[in-house]
């Protein structure tokens, strides 16, 4: 039976066995209100026009598709095309979602924005839209991540946001999400929680996907007008999975387009130091949804590792869990070293500094290209730019800037 992927999630927020609403009772009603508000707005022509206007004039859409010719030639296989989300305002795909959710927040009359962030990209994108709409903004960030992403922390402060260090648990993204959820449950009357990835309880995986799906819609149209056909394969990195689902979604029903997600294999999946929830995890419940998680035999969520803070997450969006089980998408691991090699390769052959997250996708794109004919097209989502990672890369290579 052919699955029509445009029909998910169902009204309970389920993608097959995954997704749903696994939260404390206090949040059930606020989530129902959010679902009702969003469901109304998503089909409202005035809201759509407002969003499209912001995406064009504030974010800078559409982002181009760039043919990485020198890189492709060097590899000698399929042609690598890059969807340039790194050229968006604030430097990543994250702004697509925050612009959308901020508009929802304003329509719901909320005056305070909260967000969690790992690498800081979503925090910056949230602080950005909050500043623009004159809303108070509080960003929760793991103490460990604050230490390794100082520039983004300062950017958020420059944008008027308050950055709250989270010192519980592993002091990283998952703990920041817990703390943001605790803030939300406490201040639910006036506060809108902008979740940065396609995880969390329904309607977040659906809503965040919808706001990022502009990437794939645009890319599909660009491929047809500029290349006269769809790509043979799509590649994107997957942490929580928002840029990946954003690119994939418009192509899910195009059975001939191969879809590959690159997870962070860190120091190698066999070492246990990785963040590959789909490749090495198991179905469980985390942060409000059922999905693949990395946990021990007692159900305790385990520490993850990736050179890229944005992929350092022990869960993954439930739609990806569904796509893995149906076989529509494949998820593979890319190690820290492979991502770094791809980062340098892209910098030297194309003059583009990619984010470390996106470098995982580039590495997987290169791998795929090697095994494909020269007339094949691989579209890689270049989800963010690498300026934020320059210090991390220098430190790994023994340099201090």
């Amino acid at each position: 039976m052919t699955i029509d992927y445009s029909h998910y999630p169902d009204s309970h927020g389920r993608f097959g066995d995954y997704g749903g609403i696994y939260v404390a009772e206090t949040l059930i009603e606020p989530l129902a209100e959010l679902t009702a508000a969003y469901t109304r707005l998503r089909d409202d022509p005035a809201f759509i026009a407002e969003l499209d206007h912001d995406l064009k004039h504030y974010v800078g859409r559409p982002s181009p598709i760039y043919h990485a010719q020198r890189l492709s030639k060097k590899i000698g296989g399929a042609q690598i095309l890059l969807k340039r989300e790194d050229l968006n305002h604030t430097g990543a795909h994250k702004i697509n979602n925050t612009v959308g959710q901020a508009l929802v927040a304003r329509h719901m009359g909320k005056t305070r924005i909260i967000a969690e962030t790992g690498a800081g990209q979503h925090g910056v994108a949230s602080a950005t839209v909050a500043a623009r709409l004159g809303l108070e903004c509080v960003v929760y960030m793991g103490a460990t991540d604050i230490e390794r992403q100082k520039i983004n922390v300062y950017r958020m402060k420059l944008l008027g946001a308050q950055v709250v260090p989270v010192t519980s648990g592993s002091k990283t993204l998952k703990d920041a999400l817990n703390e943001a959820m605790r803030d939300w449950v406490t201040n639910v009357a006036d506060t809108f929680y902008i979740i940065g990835t396609v995880a969390g309880p329904h309607p977040y995986p659906m809503m965040v996907r919808d706001f990022n799906a502009v990437v794939g819609r645009e890319a599909r149209a660009q491929m047809q007008s500029e290349y006269g056909r769809l790509p043979d394969a799509l590649v994107a990195c997957v942490g929580g999975g928002s840029n990946a689902i954003g690119l994939f979604h418009a192509f899910l029903n195009d059975a001939d387009v191969r879809i590959v997600g690159a997870e962070a294999a860190g120091e190698g999946i066999a070492t246990g130091h990785h963040a590959a929830s789909l490749a090495a995890g198991r179905p469980g419940v985390l942060h409000g949804n059922r999905t693949y998680v990395l946990c021990d035999d007692n159900g305790q969520i385990t520490q993850t590792h990736s050179v890229s803070a944005g992929l350092d997450y022990p869960g993954v969006g439930p739609e990806h869990a569904f796509l893995k089980d149906t076989g529509r998408a494949q998820y593979v691991g890319i190690t820290d070293d492979e991502a770094l090699a791809a980062f340098h390769e892209l910098a030297l052959s194309e003059g583009i500094l990619a984010a470390l997250e996106s470098s995982h996708a580039v590495a997987q794109g290169i791998k795929l290209a090697r095994g494909m004919e020269k007339d094949k097209l691989i579209l890689v989502n270049l989800s963010g730019r690498g300026d934020k990672d320059v210090h991390t890369i220098a430190a790994r290579e023994g340099l201090s800037l």
């Binding site: 696994y22 009603e29 129902a32 406490t186 179905p283």
Partner: protein
């Protein structure tokens, strides 16, 4: 008869209110859990809630978060917790025990296996914080095994949901006193009284109130209209300072005694 139902029936006929202490399993010391459970019943606990530690306790404030982290660092998991309860049951066959926790440890343990092991150990009820009514199908094994699924109600719960919950409620309903996390200080008695009255108008199932109950005064005030008072963070914080298993038992007794006295004084005044 399920021990929870038996206990509430007994309290009702005696016109007494239930004192429900919450401890975080394995904190302050894994070796002292069984003795601590006995100390709690000796100091007037009518029902005991045992928190199963989880790495990502989204609904808990810092006190219970830290207690969970300490217990996890000592390797506390469901297998040990079942062992402690079984040990406690050798000498206490009447005090109901409710496990309170998050879904993932239960999901990974396996629902059937969890239900089997919990009943075998002597657990009477299970409260899964992040498993609302709508997602309950997976946990059907808990009720099938004879335990009670304890549901939370919140200040934000809509009238329609409240009606559905009251219909499904068994054992008791746990009303969360305010929108927030455990241990916060946001208790508004008038709001809680109103909600509890709304629940009691719909169901005969006993209503417990928790979150923000810290001492004898707040407990007695809640007990004027609720059937049971849950005290968690304040007790966990007190126990955390205990230097030994014996000191934890002593601290538990000293903490609960005035609360028990205040609840009983309230019931007596009411009866008079």
């Amino acid at each position: 008869m399920n021990r929870i139902d038996a206990r509430f029936a007994q309290l009702k006929s005696a016109s007494r209110k239930a004192l429900v202490p919450f401890i975080s399993a394995g904190d302050p010391s894994p070796d002292g859990v069984v003795a601590l459970l006995h100390a709690l019943t000796e100091s007037g606990a009518d029902l005991i809630e045992i928190g199963v530690p989880f790495s990502d306790p989204m609904a808990d404030g810092p006190v219970i978060q830290h207690a969970s982290e300490r217990a996890l660092a000592k390797g506390v998991g469901l297998a040990q917790i079942f062992g402690w309860i079984a040990e406690f049951r050798k000498t206490d066959t009447t005090t109901p025990i409710v496990l309170m926790g998050y879904l993932n440890p239960v999901e990974i343990h396996g629902y059937e296996r969890f239900a089997h092991d919990a009943v075998g150990a002597g657990v009477d009820g299970v409260l899964l914080v992040d498993c609302p009514l709508e997602e309950s199908q997976a946990v059907g094994a808990i009720e099938a095994a004879g335990m009670r699924r304890i549901f939370l109600t919140a200040p934000t719960t809509s009238a329609a949901r409240l009606a559905a919950m009251c219909e499904k409620a068994r054992g008791f309903l746990y009303h969360v006193a305010f929108a927030g996390i455990t241990g916060a200080n946001r208790l508004s008695l008038d709001a809680v009284r109103e909600r509890v009255a709304a629940i009691k108008a719909r169901t005969a199932t006993p209503v417990a109130v928790g979150f923000g109950v810290r001492d004898a005064d707040s407990a007695a005030a809640i007990a004027r209209f609720a059937d049971a008072v849950v005290i968690g963070s304040a007790l966990v914080e007190t126990l955390a300072g205990a230097g030994s298993a014996q000191a934890a038992c002593d601290a538990a007794r000293a903490f609960l005694a005035p609360i028990r006295a205040a609840l009983d004084a309230g019931s007596a005044a009411h009866a008079a």
